[in-house]
């Protein structure tokens, strides 16, 4: 079935797809977005149910292999110590993300020049700063200005409460003389722009029934749909088509909500399917011109997969920490150990995040992102009565370095519900990361004790959290050299001149912060470059 051609076809309605659509609005081009997932009803989130925590282990799990819904593609992570997690719907993974909103720092864009590892980005912090600001305005960001860990900027809204847990840990950081700061969050600390403020429910991964979190289903998409961007949900792109003669992308084949395969032609194709979904789609788009997958003449599509491997340490305090009250991942963030220090046995660094605690079921089942239930019997009673309410933890979130052997390929057997080959992840933890995590665990213990913890609990077993592939980066990296990168400095494929990639797969390095504010700032930057270069876009 054929549809009327469009000017711009965006694949994926998550964080990056929404941001670039907004940037291109003013061009008055006809924009269509195809999204494999549904448009969820705002009121339908599980946090309104009595047994809300159960959804975390069923159809609102962050793991597509657990959810197993029609719109989810399975991911084979048998050869990985971390499994990628996501959400497939209008809003993408910002439906279940946690709204932690740190920016990357100037040094993150220059790791090769400064530290001899990774790769320099073709853009720098100063170039991106106005796009961070623009995206923050569209999203609604809360935080405290004056953070000495960044060049000067100030979030528009006051910080969300750091709570008893945050205040307690802050004192520990102060006692050690370490940096910390209230987390920047894409969560409303006060009513804003017709949206309701956060009610401190603490289950941000179950979708935000208050609409306070910066999911693009609440931020960009209402604006975009009002402005006439066409959004077709439950439409899964099977492959991107190319003109064999010109090497240009001509459009896509997709499985529609009606169960039929459709052809959609477009002048310009933008891929925004996240760091696993994007290489998967390109590798599935084989043609005579691109027998190994689209935009993959140099074989770099899918290579250099990066996560933010993490581990956690918890302190048991004398008083209840009320850790379940407040946005789940965000209280305070320390960037004391973020930058390279030559006296350490690793390069680059990590952040110490004080997330909050979960309600009791998730704790009993091992914690968020971990499948390792606490003991049964008398030990269970002890843990639930005398440990759980008194916990405050720190998570060590490390910078992953790009390594070619960590990659996304196509699984030879596994397919999604439309019979399209599923991705396979091959990933192992680098030695640098391992050393970094060990260092972080030791520092976290010190800080918790300095904050007054009477006991510190740490697994100390070199295992990272399994269901923690929240951030998927690097698999179609950007760069000036067409031999070592997939897209150029403004997201355009080196091989296919009317194909753009705008999600985290273009990150040359990962930094050690949650990536979405940078992903969206980059998407806005790329949109801006498209507008600036519109006359010569395909030259």
């Amino acid at each position: 079935m054929q549809n009327e051609p469009v000017d711009v076809l965006i694949i994926g309605a998550g964080a990056s797809g929404a941001a670039i659509a907004w940037s291109l609005l003013e061009t008055r081009m006809r924009i269509l977005c195809l999204e494999q997932g549904p448009h969820l009803k705002d009121k339908g989130y599980p946090s309104r149910d009595d047994g809300y925590e159960l959804a975390r282990y069923g159809n609102f799990s962050c793991d597509p292999n657990v959810r197993g819904l029609k719109q989810d593609y399975p991911i084979n992570a048998d050869d990985s110590c971390i499994t990628p997690v996501n959400f497939n719907a209008v809003g993408g993974s910002t439906i279940n993300f946690l709204g932690h909103w740190p920016r990357m720092k100037p040094s993150d864009f220059r790791t090769r020049s400064l530290d001899g590892v990774g790769a320099d980005w073709p853009v720098d912090y100063d170039t991106l700063a106005p796009f961070y600001d623009m995206n923050d305005r569209n999203t609604g960001v809360s935080g405290l200005g004056g953070n000495p860990a960044y060049p000067d900027y100030a979030p528009e809204l006051p910080p969300i409460p750091i709570g008893k847990l945050g205040q307690t840990l802050a004192k520990g950081f102060n006692a050690r003389g370490y940096h910390w700061w209230p987390s920047d969050v894409s969560i409303l600390s006060q009513d804003h722009d017709g949206r309701q403020k956060c009610v401190n429910a603490g289950t941000c991964d179950l979708g935000c029934a208050a609409g306070a979190k910066g999911g693009t289903n609440f931020t960009y998409w209402p604006m975009l749909e009002n402005a006439g961007v066409e959004l077709r949900s439950e439409c899964r792109v099977r492959e991107i088509l190319v003109d064999e003669a010109t090497g240009f992308a001509t459009g896509v084949l997709y499985h529609g909500a009606d169960g039929q395969v459709h052809e959609q032609m477009a002048e310009l194709v933008v891929v925004a399917c996240n760091g696993v979904g994007t290489p998967r789609l390109l590798l599935n788009s084989k043609s005579k011109a691109f027998p190994d997958g689209l935009a993959n003449r140099n074989g770099m599509v899918g290579k250099n997969l990066m996560f933010h491997p993490l581990t956690g340490v918890a302190g048991v305090f004398d008083e209840p920490m009320l850790g379940h009250e407040g946005p789940m991942a965000c209280s305070i963030l320390s960037q004391e150990f973020y930058e390279t220090d030559p006296t350490r046995d690793f390069v680059r660094g990590y952040g110490l995040h004080s997330g909050r605690s979960t309600p009791p079921m998730t704790y009993a089942l091992g914690g968020y992102g971990v499948d390792s239930p606490i003991p049964w019997g008398a030990e269970h009673r002890e843990a639930m009565d005398n440990v759980y309410p008194y916990l405050a933890g720190l998570t060590v979130v490390s910078e992953d370095l790009p390594e070619e052997h960590n990659c996304v390929t196509l699984d030879p057997d596994l397919t999604d519900s439309d019979g399209i080959a599923a991705p396979k992840i091959t990933y192992r933890l680098g030695d640098n990361t391992r050393r970094m995590l060990r260092h972080g665990e030791e520092r976290a213990k010190e800080i918790l004790l300095a904050a007054g913890a009477k006991k510190v609990l740490s697994k100390g077993d070199d295992n990272v959290w399994w269901r923690a592939g929240w951030h998927q980066m690097g698999t179609c990296r950007m760069g000036d050299d067409p031999v070592t990168s997939v897209v150029n400095g403004w997201g355009r494929s080196h091989d296919v001149k009317n194909l753009f990639i705008v999600d985290g797969s273009i990150f040359p390095t990962a930094g050690a912060v949650n990536p979405t504010s940078t992903i969206q700032a980059m998407a806005l930057f790329i949109g801006d470059c498209i507008k600036t270069n519109i006359e010569t876009l395909f030259d």
Partner: protein
């Protein structure tokens, strides 16, 4: 779902997996009725009833007659002999137990569905924030220039 005999056995098992508190203020998983949850749990494990029955059969009806230390020893034995079924039963027991609104307050968490009510958490006033961040601000810049 369960016959009376099965239910008695299952409640006894569940009361050992999540036992009551010594002072009796927190009920065990058997007394709380988690047995009713297990047959409804097929979204969280394949064949929850078969899995539960496998553990029950391995323990046998005489389990209910044992002293508490004997019950614990018997459960450890079955955990070693049937690790997968046992682990699934433990997991489902925790799910059934902690998904109940009446158990959450026992651990300091609200009984209510978490939205729309949430929790009233006041924002720290500026003076407190100033005091807490003073040492961090006093140290000054902690990021690296990249030029």
């Amino acid at each position: 779902m369960w016959t009376q005999t099965q239910r008695t056995l299952l409640d006894a098992i569940l009361d050992e997996l999540v036992p009551p508190s010594n002072d009796g203020t927190i009920p065990g998983a058997g007394a709380l009725g988690v047995a009713d949850f297990l047959p409804t749990a097929d979204a969280f494990a394949p064949n929850p009833v078969d899995t539960t029955q496998a553990v029950m059969m391995a323990l046998g009806e005489s389990f209910v007659e044992l002293t508490r230390p004997e019950k614990v020893a018997a459960l450890h034995l079955i955990e070693a002999q049937k690790p997968d079924a046992f682990a699934t039963l433990v997991r489902l027991t925790y799910m059934g137990y902690y998904s109940r609104p009446d158990t959450r307050p026992l651990f300091g968490v609200g009984a209510h569905p978490i939205h729309p009510q949430g929790y009233p958490v006041p924002r720290e006033d500026e003076a407190l924030m100033d005091e807490l961040t003073a040492p961090v601000r006093a140290r000054g810049k902690v990021y690296r220039d990249a030029k």
